[in-house]
């Protein structure tokens, strides 16, 4: 057997990677054998992993899904693909969380921010210089669809308040709080813990990731089953301790991984 573009195939009839491409990807102009580019005349052997690429070709949604299923295993990918998450605040945390979730093929994302991309954001937020002045929602949508064109994205461009949250987010699987403002961080957790309609929404919040302190002080802490906060709980953004891409990224990926764990029902103490 061979692995060809993440699928298992028999190779009885072929001897070279070029012959394999003629069957599975006739227009391929780049041949990768076990991780290395090779000429089309290179022989293939049982157990080899072959990637056949047409340069510039965008995979169809079906192809994207099958690539992700092969990487993540089908059961895991089906869960991810059938999930909806919300990301509140699209700054250093939110833009990074969104990228991670886009790459693993999340089904649907609700992206919420009312702000535009400013030059001062670019030290940590995943936007490009030519997007300065755009709404963060729209700039991020553009970027995420370049990572994974199969995503379903819903943009929420109003300034959120505590009372607006249940109406907008009661149906998502996981709500990921990435606000800058500590008052909105607190308001979101309070809403999750006290609103009856939010009881089935899992939550991953954030607190404390400014500066360049030890990475390992950033933790994922369970408040109760289904409710988690990532960060070091103390490093506030302020003069002399700015938000910087590396450490904000550590916290963001704690959040993204915890969100994934919740989607895959890895949640200590919670009954499903």
């Amino acid at each position: 057997m061979l692995t060809v573009n993440e699928q298992q195939v028999s190779h009885e009839a072929v001897q070279t990677i070029g012959e394999l491409a003629a069957i599975h990807k006739p227009l391929a102009d780049l041949f990768i054998l076990n991780g290395y580019p090779v000429p089309s005349t290179t022989r293939v052997r049982d157990g080899d992993t072959c990637t056949l690429i047409v340069k510039g070709e965008i995979p169809t949604p079906e192809e994207m899904n099958s690539l992700l299923s092969a990487r993540h295993t089908p059961g895991v990918q089906e869960r991810i693909r059938n999930s909806t998450i919300a990301i509140l605040g699209l700054g250093g945390l939110g833009s990074a969380v969104a990228g991670a979730m886009a790459k693993i093929g999340i089904g649907k994302m609700l992206l919420s921010d009312y702000d535009i991309v400013e030059p001062s954001n670019l030290n940590r937020q995943h936007y490009f210089v030519d997007q300065i002045g755009m709404m963060k929602t729209r700039a991020l949508k553009e970027n995420l669809l370049r990572m994974n064109p199969s995503l379903s994205l819903e943009l929420i461009e109003e300034q959120l308040t505590e009372s607006a949250l249940p109406g907008l987010f009661a149906k998502v699987d996981v709500l990921i709080e990435c606000f800058d403002d500590p008052a909105m961080k607190a308001a979101t957790l309070r809403c999750i813990l006290s609103e009856a309609t939010m009881q089935n929404v899992a939550y991953v919040g954030s607190s404390g990731m400014a500066g360049f302190g030890d990475s390992n002080t950033i933790q994922t802490k369970q408040i109760r089953p289904g409710v988690y906060i990532c960060g070091d709980e103390t490093s506030a953004a302020g003069p002399g301790q700015g938000l910087m891409s590396p450490r904000v990224g550590v916290a963001a990926h704690h959040q993204a991984n915890q969100a994934l764990r919740l989607l895959l029902q890895e949640d200590e103490g919670r009954k499903h």
Binding site: G91, D180, P182, A186, R190, I229, A236
Partner: protein, 76 residues
């Protein structure tokens, strides 16, 4: 234990899992002020019930109450 061991105004509450004595406080607002915590960046749970911020001033604390306070710092 001496009956004079504790001032009459002291109250023992379990704050984030730790038994703690407080002097001269009776409400959640006073507790937050005593702890030097900003009212708008915390979530307060009293005996497993979330308290809304507009009730902090009116919510009385009693001996033996369990209070959980989650404090958020800015940045994202």
């Amino acid at each position: 234990m001496s009956i004079l061991g504790q001032a009459p105004s002291a109250m023992n509450i379990t704050l984030n899992g730790n038994k703690t004595d407080f002097d001269n406080i009776s409400t959640i607002s006073e507790l937050l002020e005593n702890l030097d915590l900003a009212v708008d960046s915390v979530v307060v749970e009293l005996n497993t019930k979330i308290i809304q911020p507009d009730s902090y001033g009116a919510t009385q604390l009693g001996e033996g109450d369990g209070v959980e306070i989650i404090r958020f710092v800015g940045g994202g």
